[in-house]
Symmetry: C2
Subunit: 218 residues, 2 copies
């Protein structure tokens, strides 16, 4: 369990308490939903293996991918605000998640300052991630968005001990486009452009970053 998001920064004697809490797990098949918008909120999740997207649906039916959640990352925080999930969580590949009942977690927070600290940190990090994504959507052009996205995914892979330079994008171009606020065609064009310039190598969804500096300088 030490590879997961929750225990970081906890004292050794608190980890067992947390383990007792998160003992349950669940698998989510590619394309199926972990939870839906409107469902009552009762659990937080930690992605154990695989990856999921969160999707917000506008009343007219338009959909926007609001988050990508890789192994080791948290999921479900969207439900805390209104006791109801406000978006769907859909698996990008066959995945498994740890279930953390929110009420139990809250109770544990009152016993343990470091659990409390950890939960606050998770929420705070989500807030920061989202504001920087707002900056991406509001201020960057298509090329900069795709470059930023590749670097972001790379960094998150590295944090979990995987190669930062070679990884599988589990989503479609359309999902990437939705997340980045652009059409799937523009995503494809930007990736092709990067490949033509020798910045990345690409084979379908498999990406190898050849020139980090070039991506960073955009």
């Amino acid at each position: 369990m030490r590879h997961l998001c929750m225990p970081q920064g906890l004292a050794a004697d608190e980890i067992p308490k947390l383990e007792a809490l998160v003992c349950t797990a669940r698998t989510v098949k590619r394309g199926s939903t972990l939870y839906r918008s409107g469902e009552p909120f009762s659990n937080l999740y930690a992605v154990r293996t695989g990856s999921l997207k969160t999707v917000l649906t506008h009343r007219d039916g338009r959909e926007q991918v609001t988050g990508i959640h890789l192994a080791g990352e948290a999921l479900g925080l969207d439900g805390i605000g209104e006791d109801t999930h406000t978006c769907h969580a859909v698996a990008l590949e066959d995945s498994s998640v740890c279930i953390m009942p929110y009420d139990a977690l809250k109770a544990l927070c009152r016993e343990s300052g470091s659990v409390q600290q950890r939960l606050h940190k998770l929420m705070g990090e989500q807030i920061v991630r989202e504001t920087s994504h707002m900056m991406l959507l509001g201020s960057l052009n298509a090329e900069e968005r795709v470059a930023t996205f590749l670097l972001d995914v790379s960094e998150r892979h590295a944090k979990r001990g995987y190669s930062p330079s070679k990884f599988h994008l589990r989503m479609t171009r359309e999902e990437m486009g939705s997340y980045l606020g652009m059409s799937l065609e523009t995503v494809s064009r930007m990736l092709s452009r990067f490949q033509k310039r020798g910045i990345i190598e690409m084979e379908g969804k498999l990406i190898r970053i050849a020139d980090f500096a070039a991506l960073r300088s955009m």
Copy 2:
């Protein structure tokens, strides 16, 4: 103090504890900053009077307004994730805020479940607000963005007991544009268009919404 964001949902006997905590206040003059990106995080704030914006600065200098905070709303949650503020908070008009030391608030959370609940709710609401703003930035066109923004401000005014149909936008067109991911000229054009259609009346920053249904149907 009952008009503020923090006490909502607390038991009567807990409000005094909270009051002891948030006794200090601070004024922020129009254009001056309450906190800056990079500063160590130690306080949350509740806007008492006036309004502030939060601004994220890209390394190349580009700025994006990531939030507008009206009277009664919370401020400063961006610092929780990394113990450091990640954006600037700047007053849109002469304003005053309550200061809530975060460490003391954390301690109070461990004593009182309802204070804990309240703090979680504030963070959760911020997360939900931000995802729906991501949807706005990623999927709506200029007209829809401005319409959505007007309705949002209207609703937040209403929640505090002010008129939902007539209010002062304290920010410049440029700040609105930055928040909505568009140029100040486009903001101006959209407002003019709404006025021409009789949907709003406008006199500089003073807005009167004449036709809510028209705004909502965009």
